[in-house]
């Protein structure tokens, strides 16, 4: 079975080979007669947009919820915040991501009317962000609990308020030691963004399904899509490793490269 990569130069309108095949790489799909390559790159852009927005939401919410779960028991408010964040984590990690996408797309806008004005890729990003935030919150909590309890005590002894001890003592340490698990969660988020096909966001997986039907060159199409997913996840991995090396706490943890070598 020979691969026919010429399929990417074919027009999505009439299936004829177009003469501007590689202009797609520079023009980013501005042609009136787009090729499958144009469509593929556009779909990649959608995947990156959905995943990027989702990752932003997930990191912020995950950091907040994970922190709230570790609040010291000093009053009714903190008890309720702990309960709320625990319920948050249990809720969003015990429902499949596809079901959560359907909830955000079909159900929640029926109750929260302003959400109807949002484009559907936003809703998918919110779904991905909330789903992943539960996982990130668990990592943040684990990171905070892994710190020696003397850190928190020292902060209290210095007269810092709870907020100050998190802001200046606990989180700067905890958030840095959890970068390796955050890296794999971020890569998971890119992979999970493929569920956006189910609500017709024109991203890579939907491209793969539709282009496969139209061209009957499924193998070539799927290969290109798979490579782009792998490339995106790898890029995230590199960026996170860079951040990890830049923010390493001197003398506190081993460099990740050595840690993952075996």
């Amino acid at each position: 079975m020979a691969l026919d990569l010429g399929v990417f130069c074919k027009s999505t309108l009439d299936g004829e080979v177009v003469d501007h095949c590689f202009s797609a790489l520079f023009g980013l799909g501005q042609n009136a007669d787009p090729s499958y390559l144009d469509w593929l790159l556009k779909a990649w852009g959608w995947t990156l947009a959905v995943a990027g927005l989702g990752l932003t939401i997930a990191l912020i919410l995950g950091a907040v919820m994970g922190t709230l779960r570790t609040l010291p028991d000093n009053g009714r408010l903190s008890r309720w915040l702990v309960r709320f964040s625990t319920a948050w984590v249990e809720l969003f990690r015990n429902i499949p991501i596809l079901v959560q996408v359907f909830l955000w797309y079909h159900v929640i806008p029926a109750f929260v009317l302003p959400l109807k004005a949002l484009p559907s890729y936003w809703l998918v990003s919110i779904a991905l962000g909330f789903f992943t935030s539960a996982r990130i919150a668990e990592q943040v909590r684990a990171g905070i609990q892994a710190l020696p309890s003397g850190q928190r005590m020292a902060a209290t002894a210095l007269g810092l308020t709870t907020f100050q001890s998190y802001r200046y003592v606990i989180l700067p340490m905890a958030l840095r030691i959890i970068i390796p698990p955050l890296t794999s969660e971020s890569m998971n988020l890119i992979k999970n963004s493929s569920v956006a096909f189910a609500v017709s966001v024109p991203e890579l997986t939907l491209f793969a399904m539709q282009a496969q039907e139209e061209t009957s060159h499924g193998v070539e199409i799927y290969m290109a899509v798979t490579l782009l997913y792998a490339l995106s996840a790898f890029a995230v991995n590199r960026v996170m490793t860079l951040i990890e090396n830049r923010t390493r706490i001197p003398g506190f943890i081993a460099p990740s490269n050595e840690a993952v070598a075996h």
Binding site: L98, V99, L103, N192, M209, Y229
Partner: protein
């Protein structure tokens, strides 16, 4: 503000639409867990064998599976199996093969960590007693490794149960599909999506509670 009416959700609807999907999801989870553990153990043994001819293909397989979105893996198998065997294959069978192959990669990582968690002296002691590699694995290393792995296996199985909903991509009739079709036929999509989320939540939440109980019980005290 929209009001919810759940009165349409009765025993008849459950047996007509949901039960079939639930059974498929559970069946897929069980088969993929067993198949995944069996093949995953072989993959892990290949990776730990120290023989490049065995270790490299296994490593390549595991890393490939782990870097592709599951939806794409499902689509790949649905496309490739008919091309390879020369005739179409049903979505159910395709999904089953896909999940065994996909989960094997994930379970192999768990098994590998489990084997590495067994102190090296155990394996050396077995060798010193004159045991073959097979006997060593069968009687000494794997029993201890699996005991350590039980909670992680179960957590992976819960994730697997959630992931079975992704067979949506090839149109297999699973729990989610059952709810969706019921929602369409009864004209109540919003309620059925909520019920679907509720059903998945109850199942996964109770299982994760069980896992936490077991975790405390099976830990080997050293």
């Amino acid at each position: 503000m929209l009001s919810l009416d759940l009165s349409f959700y009765n025993w008849e609807l459950f047996t007509n639409y949901i039960l079939k999907g639930l059974l498929f999801s559970v069946q897929l989870t069980v088969i993929a867990t067993i198949g995944g553990i069996v093949f995953g153990t072989f993959l892990a043994l290949m990776r730990l064998s120290g023989k490049p001819a065995l270790a490299y293909p296994a490593t390549f397989y595991v890393n490939t599976m782990r870097s592709i979105p599951l939806v794409m893996v499902i689509l790949w198998f649905f496309l490739l199996i008919p091309l390879l065997i020369g005739r179409p294959i049903g979505a159910d069978l395709s999904a089953t093969i896909t999940f065994i192959a996909f989960e094997a990669a994930f379970f192999s990582e768990i098994v590998r960590a489990g084997i590495q968690s067994v102190p090296k002296g155990q394996g050396y002691a077995a060798e010193a007693l004159g045991m073959t590699y097979g006997q060593n694995m069968r009687f000494i290393v794997l029993p201890q490794a699996f005991r350590n792995m039980i909670p992680v296996f179960m957590t992976q199985t819960i994730i697997l149960f959630q992931d079975t909903s992704l067979v949506y991509a090839i149109g297999a009739y699973d729990l989610l599909k059952g709810f969706e079709i019921a929602g369409k036929n009864y004209g109540r999509p919003i309620e059925t999506y909520i019920l679907a989320a509720f059903t998945y939540f109850i199942i996964c939440f109770s299982l994760s509670k069980v896992v936490r109980k077991i975790q405390a019980k099976v830990a080997i005290i050293r």
